[in-house]
């Protein structure tokens, strides 16, 4: 069974909010109605977003790390928000595992938003229905778009490729490979929601170089002695030519 999802690499996210703005731009222009904003240029601005980038500081000065943390609906494999919906407006698609809200059925009771531990759902103040990330379901299957663009808007916008998109149930997909190789994990595993979206942790790239690796011990010239090695203090060709 297909389960489309995002894999977000916290190691490379720089917190630029490009995914936030491109998500808003794409989804507010869609046929499902705009994502309303109130007081956008005033005191207390507020509005509907599917995706937010938050920032956390880990550790204590001077040993701190700043982690930028994009958060949107995780398209849980066992979504607690779906069975509680009294109208059936919230549903999980069989064919690709995307969790969606039918805006024509939703009565705006907010119960699903209470039942999502991640706060991924937001009630649109204008349309009075529950909204959340759709994984750009109106993009990813659109055959009028070039194949490379059939991806969620946030994925296309990310300048550091911190957002990967694919089928996490296909073991050979790029996203599955990334989760396997780079320690992908899920948020709040304690509630058994099995989020489909995964996060890749911060990773430090360390290499250990031992002293004997600084000079090349397996240099074939060493063995054959066809050419004499210049002594450590002698001039080499590099010193004379690299001006």
């Amino acid at each position: 069974m297909t389960q489309l999802a995002l894999v977000i690499d916290l190691n490379v996210c720089v917190g630029c909010h490009a995914c936030v703005t491109s998500c808003k731009e794409w989804n507010t222009s869609g046929t499902a109605g705009f994502m309303s904003d109130y007081n956008p240029y005033d005191k207390d601005p507020t509005g509907t977003f599917f995706n937010r980038v938050q920032t956390f500081e880990i550790g204590e000065f001077p040993n701190t790390q700043t982690v930028h943390f994009p958060k949107s609906c995780l398209h849980c494999e066992d979504p607690p928000c779906v069975p509680v919906c009294p109208t059936g407006a919230s549903y999980k698609r069989e064919e690709d595992g995307i969790v969606l809200v039918d805006y024509d059925k939703c009565i705006g009771c907010k119960y699903c938003s209470w039942a999502c531990p991640y706060g991924a759902r937001e009630l649109d103040e204008n349309q009075k229905v529950m909204k959340k990330c759709t994984l750009c379901v109106d993009r990813i299957y659109d055959e009028t778009l070039p194949e490379a663009e059939r991806k969620p808007a946030c994925v296309l916008a990310c300048p550091t490729s911190a957002r990967l998109f694919g089928d996490v149930n296909d073991p050979d997909s790029m996203v599955s490979e990334q989760i396997r190789d780079n320690g992908g994990y899920q948020l709040m595993p304690e509630w058994g929601t099995k989020p489909a979206n995964h996060y890749l942790p911060r990773r430090k790239t360390n290499i250990t170089i031992h002293h004997d690796e600084l000079t090349r011990v397996d240099n074939p010239l060493n063995k054959e002695r066809q050419l004499p090695m210049p002594g450590e203090d002698e001039q080499t060709l590099d010193d004379t030519t690299s001006w």
């Binding site: 937010r52 980038v53 938050q54 920032t55 919906c85 009294p86 009771c109 706060g119 229905v129 948020l187």
Partner: protein, 325 residues
């Protein structure tokens, strides 16, 4: 959570309605086994049920204010297989309908004897309809409370105490109202209802205080570490992704000052349990309608505070992501 007044009124008003019907039916059961026979009994049960219906209707109307699209409310009956909210949406009108039927049976005397179990146990239509309605009343308490108790990560709510409290608090307020109603009609049943009202209030006090104590001891399963998946004991949020508020900052935080939040707990303990018990005790010695009514009004106002506190106290794990602007 941020308490919504529509839901506070819905849950407290239908609680009174359910409790009132259960009180009336208890009275009828007493008279069936000849413990007492109230004067004008069918008017008492009939008009009492209509009053219960009024409370239920007021609650139903309040609930519509909670919805973004009340005109689509009919759709909410469709998912009864999985959603407690949907089940409540079915059981509430069913209970209201049966209450109305019960009231009509009593007021119009459409009350044929169905069968007799023994010389002094006669089963008539009202007794049967009332029994069905009693089950519906309890089912409605279950549905209403399970809406909250079934969300397992709202750990203050996810407990059988939620169901017990909704049931006992609703019954206590309904029996208190019934005592006032009996006092108004100078019915001799005031002692039975008053006695039950005090008993239920005391039991509700025990279970509600138990849940308050339980809630102080909760160990939250989620923390910032599990929320963002970084194992460290010092994590601090420095931005939540929006400079102003959002749905997430409005819906899940009660916004009350800590001092107000704390004092509301003591206010409701006083108004729901202590004052009504004292008022009812003195009402029973003086047979005073005014005191009974005062007991009910105090208890109902207290229940509004109790329900506010119930919602405000629940700590949603999403709040971990919204610690600072």
């Amino acid at each position: 959570m941020n308490p919504a007044f529509s839901v506070i009124f819905l849950t407290t008003l239908i609680g009174v309605g359910q409790g009132l019907f259960l009180a009336l039916y208890t009275g009828q059961l007493y008279s069936v086994v000849n413990v007492f026979s109230p004067r004008h009994s069918s008017e008492f049960y009939g008009y009492g049920s209509l009053l219960a219906l009024a409370f239920l209707s007021a609650g139903l109307i309040a609930s519509f204010f909670h919805l973004g699209h009340p005109e689509r409310a009919w759709r909410s009956a469709s998912q009864w297989k999985t959603s407690w909210l949907s089940r409540e949406v079915i059981v509430l009108p069913a209970f209201m309908g049966t209450t109305f039927v019960y009231a009509m049976i009593q007021l119009n005397g459409w009350n044929p004897i169905l069968f007799t179990l023994s010389d002094n146990f006669i089963v008539d239509l009202s007794l049967l309809v009332g029994a069905i309605n009693m089950l519906l009343a309890f089912l409605l308490f279950l549905c209403t409370a399970m809406i909250y108790a079934c969300i397992k990560f709202l750990q203050e709510w996810a407990s059988s105490l939620t169901v017990i409290n909704y049931t006992l608090l609703g019954m206590a307020s309904g029996f208190t109202f019934c005592t006032a109603f009996a006092a108004y009609l100078s019915s001799d049943a005031i002692f039975i209802y008053g006695g039950w009202a005090i008993t239920l209030t005391v039991f509700a006090c025990i279970t509600r205080v138990t849940s308050l104590i339980r809630n102080t001891k909760i160990k939250y399963k989620s923390n910032l570490s599990t929320a963002i998946g970084i194992r460290h004991s010092k994590i601090k949020q420095i931005a939540q992704g929006s400079m102003g508020g959002s749905f997430n900052t409005r819906e899940y935080f009660h916004q009350a000052k800590p001092i107000i939040f704390k004092s509301i707990k003591w206010v409701f303990l006083l108004l729901v349990f202590i004052l009504p018990t004292a008022l009812l005790l003195s009402a029973l010695t003086t047979n005073s309608f005014a005191l009974c009514m005062l007991a009910f009004i105090t208890q109902y106002l207290g229940l509004l505070a109790e329900r506010w506190f119930f919602f405000a106290q629940a700590n949603h794990p999403q709040n971990l992501y919204y610690q600072t602007i």
